[in-house]
């Protein structure tokens, strides 16, 4: 096998790279994924139900853990990697993430502003038109 014998081509999402990985390696990779996601889930439940994290900071901490765990799932279970053969899958995923972020972020942003602007004005406080 010389240098230009390198594998070239697309691979579908979820397709394991048969040529490079042994069966034992594949099982090992899934096991790493399981251990990492159990740790991240455990951490999320622990900080949620114990008082370990400053309460107002809890949402940010939980979102970080969730994003990390979704990353672990994508890499170890769905085999979405930075491999050049995987570009199509990654680009599709990036577009999906863009839409999801716009939808959730946009909704929360708009509705929070709406709630803020609809607050009943208190004497001396900030009512609508206060900004």
């Amino acid at each position: 096998m010389s240098d230009h014998d390198r594998n070239v081509g697309d691979i579908g999402p979820g397709v394991m790279e048969d040529t490079q990985e042994s069966l034992r390696g594949a099982v090992f990779s899934y096991s790493i994924g399981l251990v990492l996601s159990v740790l991240l889930t455990g951490a999320a439940f622990t900080i949620g139900y114990s008082g370990l994290v400053w309460r107002p900071g809890l949402p940010s901490a939980l979102i970080v853990l969730a994003v990390a765990q979704i990353g672990v799932h994508l890499v170890f279970f769905l085999h979405i990697t930075t491999d050049p053969d995987n570009t199509n899958n990654v680009l599709a995923l990036a577009f999906g993430v863009l839409i999801v972020v716009l939808l959730i972020g946009g909704s929360v942003w708009i509705m929070e502003w709406l709630n803020y602007r609809m607050m009943i004005p208190t004497p001396g406080g900030m009512g609508h038109g206060g900004m």
Binding site: V8, G9, D18, T19, A66, I70, L74, A92, L93, G96
Partner: protein, 231 residues
């Protein structure tokens, strides 16, 4: 892919582009190990296995977009309890933790079934799929039990906007798991009856993608629906 096309390319390519000479292409596309389409324009479109998996990936991403609309609604309505019970008063941490554990483990065993399929082991593929299905069923039973308890306690979907969005988003995920279980049963029967034919292998691949995607959605769900409300 037809071997005529392959021979044609082998014959023509060296003169057209000496750098492509002798380039070997992965063999997991269902071909016979000869020159095959790379999906980058040479030798025609990508193999059916890649095209099918990619198409299904696009479906899964559109499913994520649909779920994100439900998540957005829930995030907005989380505090709209209309004087009714709020999340932390209703959810039992033990039950959520067991459900999460079941789904995580089932995602792992689903991955093991893919490894067994790669080794063309009928017994291990079926065993791993069976365990996946049982864990999924335990998840569904626990979720149905939680739902029934909430409705019995007067916290059904009609109680408040918060509960409507809660039942929509968790119920939608539950429906996906139910559909996944039906698909899983079908795949077990098909693998048993038809063996590892190329079309069955493609269906197994799509099922694997679907099941792992459900687990990803559950990660977002237990974070946004169950845990963030505790803050």
């Amino acid at each position: 892919m037809s071997s005529t096309t392959d021979t044609l390319f082998q014959a023509v390519e060296p003169r057209l582009d000496p750098y492509r000479l002798g380039r070997r292409v992965r063999t997991d596309h269902g071909g016979d190990g000869h020159f095959e389409p790379t999906g980058h324009g040479e030798g025609g479109p990508a193999s059916k296995r890649v095209v099918v998996a990619y198409g299904f990936w696009i479906f899964i991403l559109s499913d994520f977009v649909m779920f994100s609309a439900f998540f957005a609604a829930h995030a907005v309505l989380q505090s709209a309890t209309a004087g009714g019970p709020s999340g932390p008063e209703l959810f039992s941490p033990t039950s959520i933790a067991i459900e999460t554990g079941c789904l995580l483990l089932s995602s792992f065993t689903c991955g093991l079934s893919a490894v067994a399929t790669r080794a063309r082991s009928l017994l291990w593929t079926e065993a791993a799929l069976l365990v996946t299905g049982l864990l999924g069923a335990v998840f569904l039973v626990l979720e149905a039990h939680d739902f029934a308890a909430m409705v019995a306690a007067g916290a059904g979907p009609q109680r408040s906007a918060f509960l409507s969005s809660f039942f929509s988003v968790v119920g939608l995920h539950g429906l996906h798991v139910t559909a996944g279980l039906l698909w899983l049963g079908t795949m077990m029967a098909q693998v048993f009856a038809k063996g590892f034919r190329p079309n069955i292998l493609r269906r197994l691949l799509c099922f694997n993608l679907f099941w792992h995607a459900l687990d990803i959605i559950w990660v977002a769900l237990f974070t946004i629906v169950y845990l963030i409300g505790l803050g």
